[in-house]
Point group: C2
Chain length 205, copies 2
């Protein structure tokens, strides 16, 4: 029996290359949860095989900018001439319905969400060691030394933002990391600040 | 991989009659944890079959009072002419060794612990409804209406102290409640405030 019946927004973030996508997939493969994945909105053209409302919501630049003006994003960014953002309304409906909504997102986006929805649960995924991450970044399909250096520099900067998160989860093994995230969701529901209102209501009955 | 290597003090409390003992037993029957149980100290005489250092540490009144004077208890109380208390030193050693130390304790004692060790994890166990608890209190081996009323009044007072705890766990089923507590322990280890120092140390290496 859960006292807090509203779902939680789970913001899964961490330095580039830490394996956010793999851990997110492992998380959704687990049983006995009520997770949904937040689909981003973008102005870039769909790639071959990408489905609107599944991979992304594909919209025009004008539509996206209208939504920015109406404060309809939890976070958004511009990257190589295209917009990317997290639509707010759908998430709020899903939370009200009792789903845990998972947002897999870069560090800067996560910190934007923190401002708009401080009650979300912020998880910072870290590698089991610096070297493990740097090795992974080097393997990401480039031989260009300058690009590798740039990625490592960016990861180092992101590393230092861990203190802004609620939890630090080590991705030593994606399955273990997913288990830790499920434990965090369970524990967060039991937090007094989230459950006391429902508890008081129960006492009154 | 756990970043926080020190154990946690888990204070399991809640209104009289909620089933703290049953949940604690279910918790210790679970696998894959590192829990130890904190043994209380008392000045009452051992009952038949009770073992010193197992059921309680049995000490003299003079010894107990010396320990009070030396601030050696996390909490203590006097009940029907005898002292009962939680010795501090042993717990601190066990925490340093990486054990999670479980304290099953009445509400007043728990709040004393909060003052001395605010970094402990405070869990308030509640029944799935008021009536369930009152039925249980009535069944506790007495026909005396006044005593039953007194117990219910005490439980009602204790109910209202839930807001002083970190977590509210519903004891709808002792096994589920124990699972929730294990999730809380796991999540607490991942909390940024507990793990960031170790994380920064790891980055330096």
């Amino acid at each position: 029996m859960k006292l807090n019946v509203k779902g939680l927004l789970i913001v899964l973030s961490g330095p580039s290359g830490v394996g956010k996508g793999t851990v997110r997939k492992a998380l959704f493969n687990k049983k006995g949860h009520n997770l949904v994945y937040s689909i981003s909105m973008t102005t870039r053209k769909p790639r071959k095989g990408e489905v609107d409302g599944e991979d992304y919501y594909f919209v025009s630049k004008a539509e996206f900018e209208k939504r920015i003006a109406n404060d309809q994003f939890l976070e958004w960014t511009e990257f190589v001439g295209n917009y990317y953002g997290t639509p707010r309304e759908k998430i709020e409906t899903q939370l009200q319905e009792g789903h845990e909504v998972v947002l897999e997102i870069e560090v800067n986006g996560a910190l934007q969400v923190r401002d708009k929805m401080p009650e979300a649960v912020f998880i910072f995924l870290v590698p089991p060691g610096k070297q493990a991450l740097f090795d992974r970044l080097k393997l990401r399909g480039t031989e260009n030394y300058a690009i590798i250096e740039e990625r490592i520099a960016k990861a180092k900067e992101e590393f230092l933002l861990a203190y802004k998160y609620d939890y630090i989860v080590v991705n030593d093994d994606y399955d273990n990391a997913a288990d830790r995230i499920l434990a965090i969701i369970r524990a967060e529901h039991a937090k007094t600040e989230r459950s006391i209102h429902q508890y008081i209501k129960m006492l009154g009955e």
